[in-house]
Amino acid sequence: MTEQTVERRAIWYLLGFLAVVLAFVLSMALKGFTQQGFYVTLGAFLTLSILSFLYKDNIFYKMAEHLFVGVSAAYWMVMGFWSVMVPNLIGKIHPPAVKPFMPAIASQPASYWYLIPAVLGIMLLWRLMPKGAWIARWALAFIVGTTAGLNFIRYMASDLLGQINSSMVPLVVIQNGSLDIMTTISNLVLFLGVFCGLIYFFFSKEHKGVFGVGSKIGIWILMVTFGAGFGYTVMARISLLVGRFRFLFDDWLGLLK
């Protein structure tokens, strides 16, 4: 990169920075230099910074992204401390210690069982120490073991058995003595979808003849499912864009009725 190019780029950055500062002050002035006005202007500036990535990567996008990551991490940490550590750990082991913050639970009797999770928590943090990082594995093993056990039972009951149960539907539905056509068609589609989907994932037999037809229907049903999923994803992303535009047009610029 030549010296002239560097100089030109520096001038552009400076002009861009001045334009942003000017726009920020102008926006604040329009909002009457209020605290709310400052928050809305800052929100608009960060929104536009993130949207600027659609053109190409730039310093404003990077700044907004880093700010988001940092604020999120700090937020979760603070929330975790005040909503879990203070009332559910310190408040349980030594209730008088939380009296200045949560007087309501300071008079409750101490429960020393909570020393066990406290020790496990300290063990988990031990991996940050220069020596004895292996100690963290015991706490981690406890977490993995209990989570796996808990999930195994519930997923087996609800996702496997529950879903099998939900798939066992009558193929011909008679209601009040007459054929319920819509429910019958719905149940037939459900049955066909599950059956052909399972055929597609059955690899012990070559997909030929009638079995091959079932497999083909299975892949079509999977494609329709993926298509529906993608359609929903598009809707979700557009919703977020509409949400940001509503913020810019309404809260910031006041253009919407």
Binding site: G80, N88, I105, Y232, S239, V242
Partner: protein, 292 residues
Amino acid sequence: MTNGVNKTFLEKMQAIDRRVIFLFIGLAVALPLLFHVVFTEKITPIVGAIYDRVENLPEGSKVLISFDYSPSTVPEIQPMVDAVLRHCAARKVKIYIMGLWATGQNIADETISRVLKPEFPAYQYGEDYVNLGYKSGNQGLINVILTDLKKMYTTDVHGTAIDSIPMMAPIRNLRNFDLILSFGGGFPGMKEWVLFAGDPGRIPVAGGVTAVSAPQLYPYYPSQLLGLMGGIKGAAEYESEVIRHYSRFENSSHPGIDMMGPQAVAHIVIILFIVVGNVAYFLTRRREAEND
């Protein structure tokens, strides 16, 4: 010569700069918003099931609403929450608010200040609604409160002892609720409520999720999931049903309905781009086959 020009045009259609597409999508969203393009919404059975359940709850029923989302999905989820909260308050049910996400706690506070307090001034904190706040533990938390809620919730979000809150007196565990409504779109969320509360406790679970998450939850409906609002479409349907039955909410904000206009126009633009891209692709392929 003509063939050459056409070929270039077809090639261009297949390689449209992504920024051009972004610009079209931006306009497709901005213009309907500015000109207030809205469509009528008709409720579907899967959303109607939630509306009917709330509508048929007797006065004083206990409804748990879990805020399991963050600001990143507020545009999609918040319209659902606002509409359901208005409906619940109009039915005079007891509202218990909690969150499996740390971010849900502040969003719940903001929602209470914006919807419940100004629109339902008679609703009293501790008597008609309570905010239990956020607790970590994900599905483990649900598993514990299924049998003993006070083991995890010793205070509400303001630090008030649970035992001193009047509406908490009849609550021992999740089985004491008439309905659980979860709003979110990630982990932990509605799936965990179905698996760890609804199924083992035989408690009706419903709610709303982001459109991205909706396809994963449809298989639970109707046997394991009472109803589901999928994305902004679900929110718009619920809002329109609430307005249809409760005319006093006509002047309340209904962002779900407002957002469906830009949504529909943006979808049309996307479909057009897909059609143009595909037509250009097949014409190019045919030309190449003819030239060979």
